[in-house]
Symmetry: C2
Protein backbone atom coordinates (compact mmCIF):
# COMPACT_ATOMS: atom_id res chain seq x y z
CA UNK A 1 0.00 0.00 0.00
CA UNK A 2 2.71 2.49 0.96
CA UNK A 3 0.55 4.72 3.16
CA UNK A 4 1.94 7.41 5.44
CA UNK A 5 0.12 7.35 8.78
CA UNK A 6 1.16 9.31 11.85
CA UNK A 7 0.09 7.57 15.05
CA UNK A 8 -0.26 10.78 17.08
CA UNK A 9 -0.33 14.54 16.68
CA UNK A 10 -1.77 17.33 18.79
CA UNK A 11 -1.44 20.50 16.78
CA UNK A 12 -3.07 23.90 16.94
CA UNK A 13 -5.04 22.75 13.90
CA UNK A 14 -5.28 25.20 11.02
CA UNK A 15 -5.70 25.21 7.25
CA UNK A 16 -1.95 25.77 7.04
CA UNK A 17 -1.23 22.55 8.93
CA UNK A 18 -3.80 20.62 6.87
CA UNK A 19 -2.13 21.95 3.72
CA UNK A 20 1.21 20.73 5.05
CA UNK A 21 -0.29 17.26 5.60
CA UNK A 22 -1.33 17.25 1.95
CA UNK A 23 2.00 18.61 0.71
CA UNK A 24 3.82 16.05 2.83
CA UNK A 25 1.78 13.17 1.47
CA UNK A 26 0.38 12.26 4.88
CA UNK A 27 -2.57 9.90 4.38
CA UNK A 28 -3.80 9.73 7.96
CA UNK A 29 -3.16 11.32 11.36
CA UNK A 30 -4.42 10.16 14.75
CA UNK A 31 -5.32 13.54 16.26
CA UNK A 32 -5.79 14.20 19.96
CA UNK A 33 -9.21 15.66 20.79
CA UNK A 34 -8.83 16.14 24.53
CA UNK A 35 -6.70 15.68 27.65
CA UNK A 36 -8.21 16.73 30.98
CA UNK A 37 -11.59 17.76 29.60
CA UNK A 38 -14.81 16.56 31.21
CA UNK A 39 -17.25 14.73 28.94
CA UNK A 40 -19.12 17.92 28.14
CA UNK A 41 -15.91 19.83 27.47
CA UNK A 42 -14.72 17.05 25.17
CA UNK A 43 -17.97 17.40 23.23
CA UNK A 44 -17.05 21.07 22.64
CA UNK A 45 -13.75 19.85 21.19
CA UNK A 46 -15.67 17.41 18.95
CA UNK A 47 -17.90 20.24 17.76
CA UNK A 48 -14.73 22.09 16.74
CA UNK A 49 -13.70 19.00 14.74
CA UNK A 50 -17.14 18.88 13.12
CA UNK A 51 -16.55 22.44 11.96
CA UNK A 52 -13.07 21.62 10.69
CA UNK A 53 -14.33 18.63 8.70
CA UNK A 54 -17.05 20.82 7.16
CA UNK A 55 -14.85 23.86 6.51
CA UNK A 56 -11.78 22.00 5.18
CA UNK A 57 -13.42 19.10 3.37
CA UNK A 58 -11.00 19.71 0.49
CA UNK A 59 -8.02 18.68 2.65
CA UNK A 60 -9.20 16.46 5.51
CA UNK A 61 -11.86 13.80 6.14
CA UNK A 62 -13.14 12.12 9.28
CA UNK A 63 -12.03 8.49 9.54
CA UNK A 64 -13.59 5.92 11.85
CA UNK A 65 -12.51 2.86 9.85
CA UNK A 66 -9.64 1.65 7.65
CA UNK A 67 -11.99 2.01 4.68
CA UNK A 68 -12.46 5.70 5.50
CA UNK A 69 -8.67 6.12 5.43
CA UNK A 70 -8.39 4.49 2.01
CA UNK A 71 -11.32 6.57 0.72
CA UNK A 72 -9.70 9.77 1.98
CA UNK A 73 -6.46 8.83 0.25
CA UNK A 74 -8.30 8.04 -2.99
CA UNK A 75 -9.89 11.49 -2.88
CA UNK A 76 -6.59 13.26 -2.16
CA UNK A 77 -7.34 14.10 1.46
CA UNK A 78 -5.77 13.34 4.83
CA UNK A 79 -7.85 11.06 7.06
CA UNK A 80 -8.18 12.20 10.66
CA UNK A 81 -8.69 9.55 13.35
CA UNK A 82 -9.82 11.05 16.67
CA UNK A 83 -8.52 9.99 20.08
CA UNK A 84 -8.18 11.01 23.72
CA UNK A 85 -4.97 11.23 25.72
CA UNK A 86 -6.58 10.28 28.99
CA UNK A 87 -9.85 8.90 30.37
CA UNK A 88 -11.09 12.06 32.09
CA UNK A 89 -13.88 12.47 29.49
CA UNK A 90 -15.54 9.21 30.55
CA UNK A 91 -15.78 10.55 34.10
CA UNK A 92 -16.72 7.56 36.30
CA UNK A 93 -19.24 6.25 33.79
CA UNK A 94 -18.64 2.99 31.92
CA UNK A 95 -21.48 3.72 29.51
CA UNK A 96 -19.64 6.74 28.10
CA UNK A 97 -17.15 4.41 26.38
CA UNK A 98 -19.77 3.33 23.84
CA UNK A 99 -20.95 6.94 23.56
CA UNK A 100 -17.36 7.98 22.70
CA UNK A 101 -17.27 5.34 20.00
CA UNK A 102 -20.62 6.52 18.64
CA UNK A 103 -19.16 10.03 18.50
CA UNK A 104 -16.29 8.75 16.36
CA UNK A 105 -13.50 8.49 18.95
CA UNK A 106 -11.34 5.47 18.18
CA UNK A 107 -8.46 5.51 20.70
CA UNK A 108 -8.18 6.44 24.38
CA UNK A 109 -5.24 6.42 26.78
CA UNK A 110 -5.97 4.80 30.13
CA UNK A 111 -3.95 7.43 32.02
CA UNK A 112 -1.90 10.55 31.32
CA UNK A 113 1.18 10.84 33.56
CA UNK A 114 -0.92 10.80 36.77
CA UNK A 115 -3.05 8.16 38.44
CA UNK A 116 -6.43 7.99 36.69
CA UNK A 117 -9.61 6.15 37.61
CA UNK A 118 -8.43 3.34 35.31
CA UNK A 119 -4.65 3.03 35.60
CA UNK A 120 -1.46 4.65 36.85
CA UNK A 121 0.46 7.24 34.86
CA UNK A 122 4.18 7.07 34.21
CA UNK A 123 5.05 10.00 36.55
CA UNK A 124 3.61 8.46 39.73
CA UNK A 125 5.95 7.07 42.41
CA UNK A 126 3.73 4.04 42.98
CA UNK A 127 1.94 1.93 40.40
CA UNK A 128 -0.73 -0.31 41.93
CA UNK A 129 -1.83 -1.56 38.50
CA UNK A 130 -5.14 -1.60 36.72
CA UNK A 131 -8.03 -0.47 38.97
CA UNK A 132 -11.41 -2.17 39.38
CA UNK A 133 -12.99 0.38 37.05
CA UNK A 134 -9.94 -0.04 34.79
CA UNK A 135 -10.68 -3.73 34.29
CA UNK A 136 -14.29 -2.94 33.41
CA UNK A 137 -13.15 -0.21 31.02
CA UNK A 138 -10.68 -2.50 29.24
CA UNK A 139 -13.44 -5.07 28.63
CA UNK A 140 -15.86 -2.42 27.44
CA UNK A 141 -13.26 -0.80 25.14
CA UNK A 142 -12.60 -4.26 23.69
CA UNK A 143 -16.33 -4.78 23.17
CA UNK A 144 -17.08 -1.56 21.32
CA UNK A 145 -13.77 -1.15 19.46
CA UNK A 146 -12.14 1.74 21.31
CA UNK A 147 -8.39 1.16 21.17
CA UNK A 148 -6.47 1.10 24.45
CA UNK A 149 -3.45 3.42 24.26
CA UNK A 150 -0.77 3.06 26.97
CA UNK A 151 1.61 5.81 25.86
CA UNK A 152 1.60 7.67 29.19
CA UNK A 153 0.75 4.69 31.42
CA UNK A 154 3.12 3.29 34.05
CA UNK A 155 4.91 -0.06 33.83
CA UNK A 156 2.77 -2.40 35.94
CA UNK A 157 -0.49 -0.83 34.80
CA UNK A 158 0.65 -1.26 31.19
CA UNK A 159 1.52 -4.93 31.68
CA UNK A 160 -1.80 -5.59 33.40
CA UNK A 161 -3.77 -3.75 30.70
CA UNK A 162 -2.01 -5.71 27.94
CA UNK A 163 -2.78 -8.91 29.80
CA UNK A 164 -6.39 -8.03 30.58
CA UNK A 165 -7.18 -6.88 27.04
CA UNK A 166 -8.68 -9.48 24.72
CA UNK A 167 -7.59 -7.37 21.73
CA UNK A 168 -4.29 -5.82 20.64
CA UNK A 169 -3.49 -2.47 22.25
CA UNK A 170 -1.12 0.34 21.31
CA UNK A 171 1.61 2.55 22.65
CA UNK A 172 0.96 5.17 20.01
CA UNK A 173 3.86 7.52 20.77
CA UNK A 174 6.92 6.51 22.81
CA UNK A 175 10.37 5.02 22.30
CA UNK A 176 12.20 2.13 23.97
CA UNK A 177 13.90 2.93 27.28
CA UNK A 178 16.92 0.88 26.14
CA UNK A 179 17.58 3.60 23.54
CA UNK A 180 16.83 6.62 25.72
CA UNK A 181 15.94 6.39 29.40
CA UNK A 182 12.95 8.67 30.08
CA UNK A 183 9.85 8.37 32.20
CA UNK A 184 7.77 8.23 29.04
CA UNK A 185 9.87 5.66 27.18
CA UNK A 186 8.99 1.99 27.57
CA UNK A 187 10.78 -1.03 29.01
CA UNK A 188 11.71 -3.90 26.76
CA UNK A 189 9.39 -6.08 28.87
CA UNK A 190 6.38 -3.88 28.17
CA UNK A 191 7.19 -3.67 24.46
CA UNK A 192 7.63 -7.44 24.15
CA UNK A 193 4.33 -8.01 25.98
CA UNK A 194 2.66 -5.42 23.71
CA UNK A 195 3.69 -7.10 20.46
CA UNK A 196 3.14 -10.63 21.79
CA UNK A 197 -0.55 -9.68 21.93
CA UNK A 198 -0.45 -8.18 18.42
CA UNK A 199 -0.05 -4.57 19.56
CA UNK A 200 1.52 -1.57 17.84
CA UNK A 201 4.34 0.76 18.92
CA UNK A 202 4.46 4.23 17.38
CA UNK A 203 7.96 5.70 17.54
CA UNK A 204 8.01 9.24 18.89
CA UNK A 205 9.83 12.28 17.55
CA UNK A 206 9.21 14.43 20.61
CA UNK A 207 12.72 15.61 21.58
CA UNK A 208 12.45 14.55 25.23
CA UNK A 209 11.89 10.98 23.95
CA UNK A 210 14.97 11.07 21.69
CA UNK A 211 18.54 10.10 22.54
CA UNK A 212 20.44 13.44 22.49
CA UNK A 213 17.09 15.28 22.47
CA UNK A 214 16.78 17.99 19.85
CA UNK A 215 20.26 17.08 18.61
CA UNK A 216 19.31 13.49 17.79
CA UNK A 217 20.35 12.58 14.24
CA UNK A 218 18.09 10.94 11.71
CA UNK A 219 20.61 8.11 11.42
CA UNK A 220 20.46 7.42 15.15
CA UNK A 221 16.63 7.50 15.13
CA UNK A 222 16.46 5.20 12.11
CA UNK A 223 18.94 2.75 13.63
CA UNK A 224 16.76 2.58 16.74
CA UNK A 225 13.73 1.95 14.50
CA UNK A 226 15.57 -0.86 12.70
CA UNK A 227 16.50 -2.41 16.04
CA UNK A 228 12.82 -2.20 17.08
CA UNK A 229 11.83 -4.01 13.89
CA UNK A 230 14.41 -6.66 14.75
CA UNK A 231 13.25 -7.07 18.36
CA UNK A 232 9.51 -6.54 18.06
CA UNK A 233 8.70 -7.59 14.50
CA UNK A 234 8.19 -5.72 11.24
CA UNK A 235 4.40 -5.80 11.69
CA UNK A 236 4.35 -4.04 15.05
CA UNK A 237 6.31 -0.81 14.57
CA UNK A 238 5.06 2.49 13.18
CA UNK A 239 5.54 6.22 13.64
CA UNK A 240 3.68 8.29 16.27
CA UNK A 241 5.42 11.63 15.99
CA UNK A 242 3.79 13.33 19.02
CA UNK A 243 4.01 16.46 16.88
CA UNK A 244 2.58 19.41 18.80
CA UNK A 245 2.69 22.10 16.16
CA UNK A 246 1.95 25.82 16.64
CA UNK A 247 0.65 25.36 20.18
CA UNK A 248 1.14 28.27 22.56
CA UNK A 249 2.82 27.53 25.90
CA UNK A 250 -0.61 27.88 27.53
CA UNK A 251 -1.70 24.66 25.84
CA UNK A 252 1.48 22.85 26.89
CA UNK A 253 0.62 24.05 30.38
CA UNK A 254 -2.92 22.62 30.07
CA UNK A 255 -1.49 19.28 28.97
CA UNK A 256 0.84 19.18 31.97
CA UNK A 257 -1.18 20.80 34.74
CA UNK A 258 -4.80 20.36 33.71
CA UNK A 259 -6.68 21.37 36.84
CA UNK A 260 -4.86 19.04 39.21
CA UNK A 261 -2.06 21.39 40.35
CA UNK A 262 -1.41 25.10 40.69
CA UNK A 263 2.29 24.59 41.13
CA UNK A 264 4.86 24.59 38.35
CA UNK A 265 4.90 21.36 36.38
CA UNK A 266 7.44 20.94 33.62
CA UNK A 267 6.57 17.48 32.36
CA UNK A 268 9.65 16.13 30.68
CA UNK A 269 11.10 19.64 30.62
CA UNK A 270 12.58 21.59 33.52
CA UNK A 271 12.52 25.05 35.10
CA UNK A 272 15.38 25.94 32.78
CA UNK A 273 13.52 24.59 29.75
CA UNK A 274 9.81 24.99 30.58
CA UNK A 275 8.44 25.27 27.05
CA UNK A 276 8.41 22.96 24.10
CA UNK A 277 11.92 21.90 23.01
CA UNK A 278 12.94 22.52 19.39
CA UNK A 279 12.21 19.63 17.04
CA UNK A 280 15.22 17.85 15.49
CA UNK A 281 16.46 19.58 12.33
CA UNK A 282 15.30 16.72 10.10
CA UNK A 283 11.71 16.59 11.37
CA UNK A 284 9.84 19.85 11.69
CA UNK A 285 6.39 18.59 10.80
CA UNK A 286 4.15 17.03 8.22
CA UNK A 287 6.41 17.97 5.31
CA UNK A 288 9.22 15.75 6.58
CA UNK A 289 7.88 12.19 6.59
CA UNK A 290 9.77 11.56 3.34
CA UNK A 291 13.01 12.15 5.23
CA UNK A 292 12.08 9.51 7.78
CA UNK A 293 11.25 7.11 4.98
CA UNK A 294 14.69 7.75 3.43
CA UNK A 295 16.36 7.37 6.82
CA UNK A 296 14.71 4.01 7.43
CA UNK A 297 15.89 2.77 4.03
CA UNK A 298 19.44 3.96 4.70
CA UNK A 299 19.32 2.15 8.06
CA UNK A 300 18.98 -1.06 6.07
CA UNK A 301 15.25 -1.79 6.22
CA UNK A 302 13.86 -3.41 3.06
CA UNK A 303 11.41 -1.33 1.02
CA UNK A 304 8.44 -3.53 2.01
CA UNK A 305 9.29 -3.11 5.69
CA UNK A 306 9.74 0.65 5.34
CA UNK A 307 6.21 0.80 3.89
CA UNK A 308 4.85 -1.10 6.85
CA UNK A 309 6.58 1.14 9.39
CA UNK A 310 5.57 4.34 7.58
CA UNK A 311 1.87 3.52 7.67
CA UNK A 312 0.70 0.12 6.47
CA UNK A 313 1.01 -1.39 9.95
CA UNK A 314 -1.22 1.30 11.41
CA UNK A 315 -3.78 0.67 8.65
CA UNK A 316 -3.90 -3.05 9.45
CA UNK A 317 -4.06 -2.38 13.19
CA UNK A 318 -6.85 0.18 12.79
CA UNK A 319 -8.75 -2.24 10.52
CA UNK A 320 -8.59 -4.96 13.17
CA UNK A 321 -9.32 -2.65 16.09
CA UNK A 322 -11.98 -0.06 15.29
CA UNK A 323 -15.02 -2.38 14.98
CA UNK A 324 -16.98 -4.27 17.66
CA UNK A 325 -15.01 -7.11 19.24
CA UNK B 1 -44.32 -2.52 1.38
CA UNK B 2 -47.04 -2.76 4.03
CA UNK B 3 -44.92 -1.73 7.00
CA UNK B 4 -46.32 -0.84 10.40
CA UNK B 5 -44.53 2.21 11.79
CA UNK B 6 -45.60 4.12 14.89
CA UNK B 7 -44.56 7.75 14.71
CA UNK B 8 -44.24 8.20 18.49
CA UNK B 9 -44.18 6.23 21.71
CA UNK B 10 -42.77 6.94 25.13
CA UNK B 11 -43.10 3.74 27.13
CA UNK B 12 -41.47 2.43 30.28
CA UNK B 13 -39.45 0.19 27.95
CA UNK B 14 -39.20 -3.45 28.92
CA UNK B 15 -38.76 -6.85 27.29
CA UNK B 16 -42.52 -7.32 27.68
CA UNK B 17 -43.23 -4.22 25.59
CA UNK B 18 -40.65 -5.22 22.97
CA UNK B 19 -42.28 -8.66 22.80
CA UNK B 20 -45.64 -6.95 22.25
CA UNK B 21 -44.12 -4.95 19.38
CA UNK B 22 -43.05 -8.23 17.79
CA UNK B 23 -46.36 -9.96 18.46
CA UNK B 24 -48.20 -6.93 17.06
CA UNK B 25 -46.14 -6.91 13.87
CA UNK B 26 -44.77 -3.44 14.54
CA UNK B 27 -41.82 -2.84 12.21
CA UNK B 28 -40.62 0.46 13.62
CA UNK B 29 -41.29 2.84 16.51
CA UNK B 30 -40.07 6.40 16.94
CA UNK B 31 -39.19 6.31 20.65
CA UNK B 32 -38.75 9.37 22.85
CA UNK B 33 -35.36 9.52 24.54
CA UNK B 34 -35.76 12.67 26.59
CA UNK B 35 -37.92 15.67 27.49
CA UNK B 36 -36.44 18.21 29.88
CA UNK B 37 -33.06 16.55 30.26
CA UNK B 38 -29.84 18.54 29.90
CA UNK B 39 -27.39 17.32 27.28
CA UNK B 40 -25.53 15.20 29.83
CA UNK B 41 -28.74 13.77 31.24
CA UNK B 42 -29.91 12.89 27.74
CA UNK B 43 -26.64 11.00 27.23
CA UNK B 44 -27.56 8.88 30.28
CA UNK B 45 -30.84 8.07 28.52
CA UNK B 46 -28.89 7.13 25.36
CA UNK B 47 -26.67 4.85 27.42
CA UNK B 48 -29.84 3.10 28.62
CA UNK B 49 -30.82 2.64 24.97
CA UNK B 50 -27.37 1.24 24.18
CA UNK B 51 -27.96 -1.34 26.90
CA UNK B 52 -31.42 -2.16 25.58
CA UNK B 53 -30.13 -2.64 22.04
CA UNK B 54 -27.40 -4.98 23.37
CA UNK B 55 -29.61 -6.88 25.81
CA UNK B 56 -32.65 -7.29 23.54
CA UNK B 57 -30.99 -7.66 20.15
CA UNK B 58 -33.37 -10.53 19.43
CA UNK B 59 -36.38 -8.17 19.42
CA UNK B 60 -35.22 -4.61 18.66
CA UNK B 61 -32.56 -2.89 16.55
CA UNK B 62 -31.30 0.69 16.39
CA UNK B 63 -32.39 2.49 13.22
CA UNK B 64 -30.85 5.69 11.92
CA UNK B 65 -31.91 5.20 8.28
CA UNK B 66 -34.74 3.72 6.24
CA UNK B 67 -32.37 0.91 5.29
CA UNK B 68 -31.93 0.05 8.98
CA UNK B 69 -35.71 -0.22 9.29
CA UNK B 70 -35.95 -2.60 6.35
CA UNK B 71 -33.02 -4.64 7.68
CA UNK B 72 -34.65 -4.90 11.11
CA UNK B 73 -37.88 -6.07 9.49
CA UNK B 74 -36.01 -8.64 7.39
CA UNK B 75 -34.43 -10.04 10.57
CA UNK B 76 -37.74 -10.17 12.45
CA UNK B 77 -37.02 -7.25 14.77
CA UNK B 78 -38.62 -3.91 15.53
CA UNK B 79 -36.56 -0.90 14.46
CA UNK B 80 -36.28 1.87 17.04
CA UNK B 81 -35.78 5.44 15.81
CA UNK B 82 -34.69 7.79 18.60
CA UNK B 83 -36.00 11.31 19.11
CA UNK B 84 -36.39 14.15 21.61
CA UNK B 85 -39.62 15.84 22.65
CA UNK B 86 -38.03 19.22 23.20
CA UNK B 87 -34.79 21.06 22.59
CA UNK B 88 -33.56 21.26 26.20
CA UNK B 89 -30.75 18.75 25.46
CA UNK B 90 -29.09 21.13 22.97
CA UNK B 91 -28.89 23.76 25.73
CA UNK B 92 -27.95 27.03 23.99
CA UNK B 93 -25.39 25.35 21.74
CA UNK B 94 -25.99 25.09 17.98
CA UNK B 95 -23.12 22.60 17.61
CA UNK B 96 -24.97 20.02 19.72
CA UNK B 97 -27.43 19.47 16.86
CA UNK B 98 -24.79 17.66 14.80
CA UNK B 99 -23.61 15.85 17.94
CA UNK B 100 -27.20 14.60 18.49
CA UNK B 101 -27.26 13.32 14.93
CA UNK B 102 -23.91 11.59 15.43
CA UNK B 103 -25.37 9.94 18.52
CA UNK B 104 -28.22 8.54 16.43
CA UNK B 105 -31.02 10.98 17.30
CA UNK B 106 -33.18 11.59 14.22
CA UNK B 107 -36.08 13.81 15.34
CA UNK B 108 -36.39 16.73 17.77
CA UNK B 109 -39.34 18.87 18.77
CA UNK B 110 -38.65 22.60 18.76
CA UNK B 111 -40.69 23.14 21.93
CA UNK B 112 -42.74 21.16 24.43
CA UNK B 113 -45.85 23.03 25.63
CA UNK B 114 -43.79 25.97 27.00
CA UNK B 115 -41.65 28.62 25.36
CA UNK B 116 -38.24 27.14 24.47
CA UNK B 117 -35.07 28.79 23.22
CA UNK B 118 -36.23 27.91 19.71
CA UNK B 119 -40.00 28.27 19.52
CA UNK B 120 -43.21 28.69 21.50
CA UNK B 121 -45.11 25.76 22.97
CA UNK B 122 -48.84 25.23 22.50
CA UNK B 123 -49.72 26.06 26.15
CA UNK B 124 -48.31 29.61 26.14
CA UNK B 125 -50.68 32.60 26.04
CA UNK B 126 -48.44 34.45 23.56
CA UNK B 127 -46.62 33.04 20.56
CA UNK B 128 -43.97 35.42 19.21
CA UNK B 129 -42.83 32.87 16.62
CA UNK B 130 -39.50 31.30 15.83
CA UNK B 131 -36.65 32.86 17.85
CA UNK B 132 -33.26 33.99 16.52
CA UNK B 133 -31.66 30.79 17.82
CA UNK B 134 -34.69 28.90 16.45
CA UNK B 135 -33.93 30.07 12.91
CA UNK B 136 -30.32 28.96 13.26
CA UNK B 137 -31.45 25.60 14.67
CA UNK B 138 -33.91 24.99 11.82
CA UNK B 139 -31.14 25.58 9.26
CA UNK B 140 -28.69 23.36 11.16
CA UNK B 141 -31.29 20.57 11.61
CA UNK B 142 -31.92 20.76 7.86
CA UNK B 143 -28.19 20.54 7.18
CA UNK B 144 -27.44 17.48 9.28
CA UNK B 145 -30.74 15.61 8.83
CA UNK B 146 -32.38 16.02 12.24
CA UNK B 147 -36.13 16.12 11.62
CA UNK B 148 -38.09 19.08 12.97
CA UNK B 149 -41.10 17.89 14.96
CA UNK B 150 -43.80 20.47 15.80
CA UNK B 151 -46.20 18.26 17.78
CA UNK B 152 -46.20 20.45 20.90
CA UNK B 153 -45.38 23.76 19.18
CA UNK B 154 -47.76 26.72 19.03
CA UNK B 155 -49.53 27.97 15.91
CA UNK B 156 -47.40 30.89 14.71
CA UNK B 157 -44.15 29.21 15.65
CA UNK B 158 -45.24 26.13 13.71
CA UNK B 159 -46.10 28.14 10.61
CA UNK B 160 -42.81 30.01 10.77
CA UNK B 161 -40.82 26.79 11.28
CA UNK B 162 -42.53 25.14 8.31
CA UNK B 163 -41.79 28.21 6.23
CA UNK B 164 -38.17 28.54 7.39
CA UNK B 165 -37.36 24.87 6.89
CA UNK B 166 -35.83 23.90 3.56
CA UNK B 167 -36.91 20.29 4.16
CA UNK B 168 -40.21 18.61 5.07
CA UNK B 169 -41.02 18.61 8.79
CA UNK B 170 -43.39 16.54 10.89
CA UNK B 171 -46.14 16.77 13.45
CA UNK B 172 -45.47 13.26 14.69
CA UNK B 173 -48.39 12.92 17.12
CA UNK B 174 -51.47 15.17 17.05
CA UNK B 175 -54.90 15.34 15.47
CA UNK B 176 -56.75 18.06 13.57
CA UNK B 177 -58.47 20.68 15.71
CA UNK B 178 -61.49 20.54 13.35
CA UNK B 179 -62.12 17.01 14.68
CA UNK B 180 -61.40 17.69 18.35
CA UNK B 181 -60.54 21.09 19.73
CA UNK B 182 -57.57 20.74 22.09
CA UNK B 183 -54.48 22.82 22.76
CA UNK B 184 -52.38 20.04 21.28
CA UNK B 185 -54.44 19.46 18.15
CA UNK B 186 -53.57 21.41 15.02
CA UNK B 187 -55.36 23.98 12.91
CA UNK B 188 -56.27 23.20 9.34
CA UNK B 189 -53.96 26.06 8.31
CA UNK B 190 -50.94 24.49 10.00
CA UNK B 191 -51.72 21.05 8.57
CA UNK B 192 -52.13 22.40 5.05
CA UNK B 193 -48.86 24.30 5.34
CA UNK B 194 -47.18 21.17 6.70
CA UNK B 195 -48.17 18.96 3.79
CA UNK B 196 -47.63 21.68 1.19
CA UNK B 197 -43.94 21.43 2.13
CA UNK B 198 -44.00 17.62 1.96
CA UNK B 199 -44.41 17.07 5.70
CA UNK B 200 -46.00 14.22 7.67
CA UNK B 201 -48.84 14.17 10.20
CA UNK B 202 -48.95 11.28 12.67
CA UNK B 203 -52.45 10.77 14.04
CA UNK B 204 -52.53 10.45 17.82
CA UNK B 205 -54.34 7.92 19.98
CA UNK B 206 -53.77 9.76 23.25
CA UNK B 207 -57.29 10.09 24.71
CA UNK B 208 -57.05 13.84 25.31
CA UNK B 209 -56.45 14.24 21.55
CA UNK B 210 -59.53 12.13 20.64
CA UNK B 211 -63.10 13.28 20.11
CA UNK B 212 -65.01 11.78 23.08
CA UNK B 213 -61.66 11.01 24.75
CA UNK B 214 -61.32 7.48 26.07
CA UNK B 215 -64.79 6.71 24.68
CA UNK B 216 -63.82 7.54 21.10
CA UNK B 217 -64.82 4.75 18.74
CA UNK B 218 -62.53 3.17 16.19
CA UNK B 219 -65.05 4.12 13.51
CA UNK B 220 -64.91 7.78 14.48
CA UNK B 221 -61.11 7.77 14.56
CA UNK B 222 -60.89 6.04 11.19
CA UNK B 223 -63.37 8.45 9.62
CA UNK B 224 -61.22 11.33 10.83
CA UNK B 225 -58.16 9.60 9.31
CA UNK B 226 -60.00 9.18 5.99
CA UNK B 227 -60.95 12.86 6.03
CA UNK B 228 -57.27 13.74 6.68
CA UNK B 229 -56.26 11.65 3.67
CA UNK B 230 -58.83 13.54 1.64
CA UNK B 231 -57.73 16.99 2.85
CA UNK B 232 -53.97 16.52 3.21
CA UNK B 233 -53.14 13.76 0.73
CA UNK B 234 -52.59 10.02 1.02
CA UNK B 235 -48.81 10.48 1.19
CA UNK B 236 -48.80 12.75 4.21
CA UNK B 237 -50.76 10.91 6.90
CA UNK B 238 -49.52 8.24 9.29
CA UNK B 239 -49.99 7.05 12.85
CA UNK B 240 -48.18 8.53 15.86
CA UNK B 241 -49.92 6.81 18.75
CA UNK B 242 -48.33 8.84 21.59
CA UNK B 243 -48.52 5.55 23.49
CA UNK B 244 -47.12 6.01 26.99
CA UNK B 245 -47.23 2.45 28.28
CA UNK B 246 -46.49 1.29 31.83
CA UNK B 247 -45.22 4.69 32.96
CA UNK B 248 -45.73 5.59 36.61
CA UNK B 249 -47.46 8.91 37.35
CA UNK B 250 -44.03 10.26 38.40
CA UNK B 251 -42.93 10.13 34.77
CA UNK B 252 -46.10 11.82 33.57
CA UNK B 253 -45.27 14.46 36.17
CA UNK B 254 -41.74 14.84 34.77
CA UNK B 255 -43.14 15.27 31.27
CA UNK B 256 -45.51 17.99 32.46
CA UNK B 257 -43.55 19.81 35.14
CA UNK B 258 -39.89 19.11 34.33
CA UNK B 259 -38.03 21.49 36.60
CA UNK B 260 -39.89 24.64 35.50
CA UNK B 261 -42.71 24.62 38.10
CA UNK B 262 -43.37 23.33 41.59
CA UNK B 263 -47.08 23.93 41.30
CA UNK B 264 -49.59 21.38 40.08
CA UNK B 265 -49.61 21.01 36.29
CA UNK B 266 -52.11 18.69 34.71
CA UNK B 267 -51.22 19.05 31.06
CA UNK B 268 -54.30 18.09 29.08
CA UNK B 269 -55.74 16.49 32.22
CA UNK B 270 -57.26 18.27 35.22
CA UNK B 271 -57.21 18.20 39.03
CA UNK B 272 -60.08 15.71 38.82
CA UNK B 273 -58.17 13.56 36.31
CA UNK B 274 -54.48 14.16 37.04
CA UNK B 275 -53.06 10.86 35.77
CA UNK B 276 -53.02 9.21 32.42
CA UNK B 277 -56.52 8.66 30.98
CA UNK B 278 -57.49 5.13 29.97
CA UNK B 279 -56.74 4.28 26.35
CA UNK B 280 -59.72 3.62 24.06
CA UNK B 281 -60.93 0.02 24.25
CA UNK B 282 -59.74 -0.73 20.71
CA UNK B 283 -56.17 0.50 21.16
CA UNK B 284 -54.31 -0.62 24.27
CA UNK B 285 -50.84 -0.85 22.78
CA UNK B 286 -48.59 -2.51 20.25
CA UNK B 287 -50.83 -5.56 19.83
CA UNK B 288 -53.63 -3.46 18.35
CA UNK B 289 -52.28 -1.92 15.16
CA UNK B 290 -54.16 -4.58 13.20
CA UNK B 291 -57.40 -3.14 14.51
CA UNK B 292 -56.49 0.30 13.23
CA UNK B 293 -55.61 -1.18 9.85
CA UNK B 294 -59.04 -2.87 9.74
CA UNK B 295 -60.76 0.31 10.86
CA UNK B 296 -59.10 2.35 8.10
CA UNK B 297 -60.23 -0.19 5.51
CA UNK B 298 -63.78 -0.12 6.87
CA UNK B 299 -63.70 3.68 6.66
CA UNK B 300 -63.33 3.28 2.91
CA UNK B 301 -59.61 3.76 2.34
CA UNK B 302 -58.19 1.62 -0.47
CA UNK B 303 -55.72 -1.10 0.54
CA UNK B 304 -52.76 0.75 -0.97
CA UNK B 305 -53.64 3.88 0.97
CA UNK B 306 -54.10 1.94 4.21
CA UNK B 307 -50.56 0.58 3.74
CA UNK B 308 -49.22 4.09 3.30
CA UNK B 309 -50.98 5.39 6.41
CA UNK B 310 -49.96 2.39 8.52
CA UNK B 311 -46.24 2.84 7.85
CA UNK B 312 -45.07 3.24 4.28
CA UNK B 313 -45.43 7.02 4.41
CA UNK B 314 -43.19 7.20 7.48
CA UNK B 315 -40.61 5.01 5.76
CA UNK B 316 -40.51 7.33 2.75
CA UNK B 317 -40.38 10.42 4.96
CA UNK B 318 -37.58 8.98 7.11
CA UNK B 319 -35.66 7.99 3.96
CA UNK B 320 -35.85 11.55 2.65
CA UNK B 321 -35.15 13.18 5.99
CA UNK B 322 -32.47 11.36 8.00
CA UNK B 323 -29.42 12.12 5.80
CA UNK B 324 -27.49 15.36 5.25
CA UNK B 325 -29.47 18.00 3.37
Amino acid sequence: MGLVIDGLQYANWSPRIFAEMRAGGVDCVHATVAYHETFREMVYRLQEWNRRFADHADMIARATSAEDILAARASGRTAIVLGLQTCTPIEDDLGLIEILHQLGIRLMQLSYNNQSLLATGCYEAEDPGLTRFGREAVAEMNRVGLVIDLSHTAERSSLEAISASRRPVTISHANPAWWHRALRNKSDEVLRALVAKGGMLGLSLYPHHLAAGSDCTLGDFASMAAECVSRYGADHVGIGSDLCQDQPDSVVDWMRRGRWTRGPEFGEGSAAMPGFPPMPAWFGGNLDFGRIRDGLARAGLAAGIVDRVMGDNWLRFYRESFGPG
